[in-house]
Symmetry: C2
Subunit: 149 residues, 2 copies
DNA sequence: TCAATAAAGGACATCGATATCCTTTTTATT
DNA sequence: AATAAAAAGGATATCGATGTCCTTTATTGA
């Protein structure tokens, strides 16, 4: 039910850049980190991986920064999950047993299988573009880390 | 979708002890750790917490060990989850945002809400006794850590 | 009472995720 | 060419989950 912080930072960064797709400028790590209240250097590392995976593009130097490419908006959440959580996030046995699958199920396996599949469906079908919202100011606000209520 | 190793060890330990409920003897950490191929001392720490929570009982000394009590078999998985994962495992925002709930949802919140609730239902309704299986030898085997295929 | 046993408790070690900092490389502008 | 800006890369720090070890406490049986 939980994702790593890396996943949260990655998706929020991608959404922030996607939201500004119509602006001519590129977006720097400094800006993203500040607007989303996310640790600057850690975010840098994560965005590097996101670019390496082809989900976003970037250029160095003056006027450089991050920007969307032809894949960005059509990227399923699942791709980002697999990038940040590792390839067997959905294969991991809930009971920390190494060998557990449908033919060799742990006591919990079948009980959760259906919902696991449901989530996989959602993550596979939901694209970055599906998460964007019209009101930019509101959306940026909703992406920023805020102290718990 | 993932639980800590602590949860896996706790549940498997509880199941192992529950399985042997008809034997007159009490079960030691050494036996559980060996039969389940789980780290001995770490398991000890976890079982201590399980006993403290009242899910199991134990006595020290010669002939001592762990044994089930009136609550054990009727304990819902959710109780064990909350014990090992902390009380807000199901409240954690998937995007690592501090403030996120149904009235203030993050971009992913509503997409997964339904399945989250479904899993909560399962974990709340499934009892330790529901996971026990008739064939003891087979069941113990299915509880033991095995190298990935 | 004494010895053996087993959980309880606490100190410490390790490891991976998270986070920070500094250097290198690339790019645009002057 | 020189400078400034920004990502890329790499070294190190921190923290919590995991794991090990040793001591203390409780219990049984001789």
């Amino acid at each position: 039910m939980t994702f790593s912080k890396s996943f949260g930072y990655a998706l929020r960064g991608i959404l922030y850049i996607s939201l500004l797709k119509d602006e001519p400028r590129k977006i720097s790590i400094d800006e993203i980190a500040e607007k989303l209240s996310v640790p600057r250097h850690f975010l840098g590392k994560i965005m590097k991986a996101v670019v390496k995976a082809g989900i976003l593009s970037s250029t160095r130097g003056l006027q450089g920064g991050f920007f969307i490419n032809e894949k960005t908006l059509d990227t399923p959440l699942l791709t980002i999950i697999l990038l940040t959580e590792g390839n067997n996030y959905f294969n991991t046995c809930l009971l920390s047993m190494r060998k557990c699958n449908s033919s060799n199920p742990c006591p919990l396996h079948n009980k959760v299988e259906e919902h696991k599949d449901g989530l996989l469906q959602i993550y596979g079908q939901t694209l970055v573009s599906d998460l964007l919202q019209d009101d930019k100011a509101d959306f940026v606000k909703s992406l920023a880390t805020v102290e718990a209520a």
